[in-house]
Amino acid sequence: MIPNVTELLTKPARKQLSQADLELLHVQSQQSGLTYNIWFQKWSHGSSVGSSNMPMIRSENHLNILKDTGYTAANPPSTDLATKSSSSSPSSYCCIYYAKGICVKGSSCEYLHRPPLDSDILNWDQTRDCFGRDKHSTYRDDMTGVGSFNDTFQSTLYLGGQGLIIRNEASFQGELSRMFGEVGDVEMVRVIKAKNCAFVKFKSGRSAEFAKECFQGWGCYESDYWGIRWANEDPDPKVKAHRKRQFEQQTRDVVENLLKKFDSGQTKTDNEVVGIAEEVEDYKVAEAPNSKEVKAIEPAATEDSHKKSIIDQSSLKYLSVLRNKVNLSQSKTPVVAKKQALVNSYDSDSEDE
């Protein structure tokens, strides 16, 4: 069950840790192994204690979602209510220290102190994770780390490691669904006692990214802890078939959205073109407007095939209309120069910086 986040966001975020505690934590994290070798004066065994990938010790600081969630400098309450559209930068990400339960900044933090929501999907880059860290093209070999931007449908986590203890399968599963359900919608929890591991599948990949950092090194009992990695694709043919169906449904939704955009976009650009034609005084329409429209796109697309990516369709039409006008009057309009400036302004300067 996800708690009501909008209700929690009415209060300021609290400081999860005092500055002194944080310094203590830094000292502790310098320990890079389990045993201290007095002859070599080094820590040995379990070199990955310091790294967050596969922990060898239970993490001490936990996120308490009901107490810690609140508004920060990234989403002050005034912008949430009315002036959300006017706020300059909508793309602030979740605070990774908040997820780990060690943010000392509290309400002055520049990142969000809340789990990811469905509405974030539009604002956040596909190439970044929910904490704003860059993703990579492939996973690491050990399936740890930030994750891959090519696998856009990844939402399953693997829980394992030598610290993981499963006493009772059913109760462990219930505990997992309760814990992970606090940060996002859980689709499925599967515990395999014989292999000493578990899988948690979320509705959205963003929740999985958050949970992966949040629950790293946690456990259900007193002294146990698990490591979390990304899961490989489930080889079960039934699950595969279900995944395929789900993907098809997603595709259908995307297509619907595209068609909506396409319909509205077409009418909009048509209107714009009409508006421009009225503005240009000595513009003479020689042919029917429909055939004109087709002509308007083609020469521009063939001339500079990569430029069209920057200039949208309406401006292309605009340009072609203006080009026609230039052909007629043999003079340049200042508007053309302005539009070109966006494309060519990097060519001359900055070479000898």
């Binding site: 090519n150 109760s171 219930g174 595209l258 966006l342």
Partner: protein, 371 residues
């Protein structure tokens, strides 16, 4: 390691959304400063601020890779459609575009470099060739509009014919040999939804769940069943634990207190006087009963599947009787069980209207339900 020569002289390929709303942009150019995330060659990086107060955005793949995939150098979404490249390829497949050139994106390190280095050979990967061409891209959308309409019609037809939810189980062949009677006989399939006076249970047994029905939809449905007065008086989370086994098609839902369980079950109608209650979540009928304690699931996958198939059969029978009870089915009640029922009792209901006799298979009552 070669860099693309056109990289430094040409402007980056970026989408409108990444560039931001302002008309005038200042960009920083940095030659060969990063390695392209797709082909691993160094490339010219551009940085800019989409909003005056926002952090810098930058290009993460080289212009060659972007052109081959027709995607934005910053957000990697398709430049024409504004969707992810994988999704675009799938959409084009749906539209019936057959000539998706070089569908496989290179994975090997050397292949990546080779594909990126020979741009004239590999001008477009996947569906990039189609979406680059404005006319073709539009044509595809027009086609899709027709296709989606057809699919919707088919779907509506399916719903009208009542075959919307179909589970065609292809089960392993050696399933019949698996013996699960020990676990299956203990499942409270014939339990009741009406709360008992003496015993207070806070755990509900739900059966009939489906892999297409994710956990959160079920838990959300149950929380929505809690009456408003109860919701406001209690601060604790109403659901303590939800444990499901989708292969076996059943789950346990433990609530914070027996009172909470009673509040929820008041909103659920039993299918017959003392039987399990029925709710419908996302077109999937679920059956709910009280259970005294949660039991472990079967250990192996094959046992779980077997239990799942047994429960499917049980539900089919339950649905038949439930429909007959509803008085709106054309099916005659006698044909529900045919001659299969060994022991059967007859219940007469609705004396005012037509008399319908319902034969309920009571063999399942003592738990020794057979295939």
């Amino acid at each position: 390691m070669s860099t693309t020569s056109s990289d430094t002289t040409q402007p980056p390929a970026l989408c409108e959304k990444c560039l931001g709303p302002s008309e005038h942009l200042r960009m920083l150019r940095d030659q060969n400063s990063l390695e392209c995330k797709l082909c691993t060659r160094p490339f010219t990086v551009y940085k800019w601020k989409p909003h005056p107060n926002s952090p810098y955005k930058q290009t993460i793949i080289c212009l060659t890779c972007s052109r081959q995939r027709n995607c934005c150098q910053c957000c990697l979404l398709d430049l024409t459609y504004g969707i992810s490249v994988q999704m675009r390829d799938e959409v084009l497949k749906m539209a019936g575009v057959k000539s998706l050139s070089n569908e496989m994106t290179p994975k090997n390190e050397v292949t990546k470099l080779y594909v990126a280095g020979n741009e004239d050979k590999f001008q477009s990967l996947g569906g990039a060739g189609v979406s680059k061409d404005q006319e073709k891209a539009r044509e595809v959308l027009r086609k899709l509009a027709i296709i989606t309409k057809q699919q919707e019609d088919e779907k509506n037809k399916l719903i009208a014919s009542g075959k919307n939810h179909q589970t065609n189980d292809k089960l392993p062949q050696n399933l019949e040999k698996v013996d699960v009677t020990k676990i299956f006989s203990k499942l409270p399939l014939n339990g009741s939804i009406t709360p008992e006076q003496e015993k207070k249970y806070s755990t509900l047994f739900i059966f009939g769940i489906d892999p297409s029905l994710p956990d959160y939809k079920i838990t959300n449905h149950f929380t929505s069943l809690i009456p408003q007065q109860v919701q406001t008086t209690t601060t604790a989370q109403p659901i303590k634990a939800y444990v499901s086994c989708q292969k076996s098609r059943y789950a346990y839902l433990t609530l914070s207190s027996p009172e909470m369980a009673d509040a929820i079950t008041k909103g659920i109608k039993p299918i017959k006087d003392q039987g399990p209650g029925r709710i419908i979540v996302e077109n999937v009928p679920l059956f709910v009963t009280y259970v005294s304690k949660q039991r472990d699931f079967a250990k192996s996958n094959i046992e779980r599947l077997k239990i799942g198939s047994l429960i499917s059969k049980f539900i089919r029978k339950l649905n038949d009787t439930g429909n007959a009870n509803g008085n709106n089915t054309k099916r005659k009640s006698e044909s529900v069980d045919g001659g299969k029922a060994k022991k059967s009792k007859t219940i007469t209901k609705n004396p005012e209207k037509k008399e319908t006799t319902i034969i309920v298979n009571s063999t399942a009552d003592d738990g020794s339900f057979e295939l």
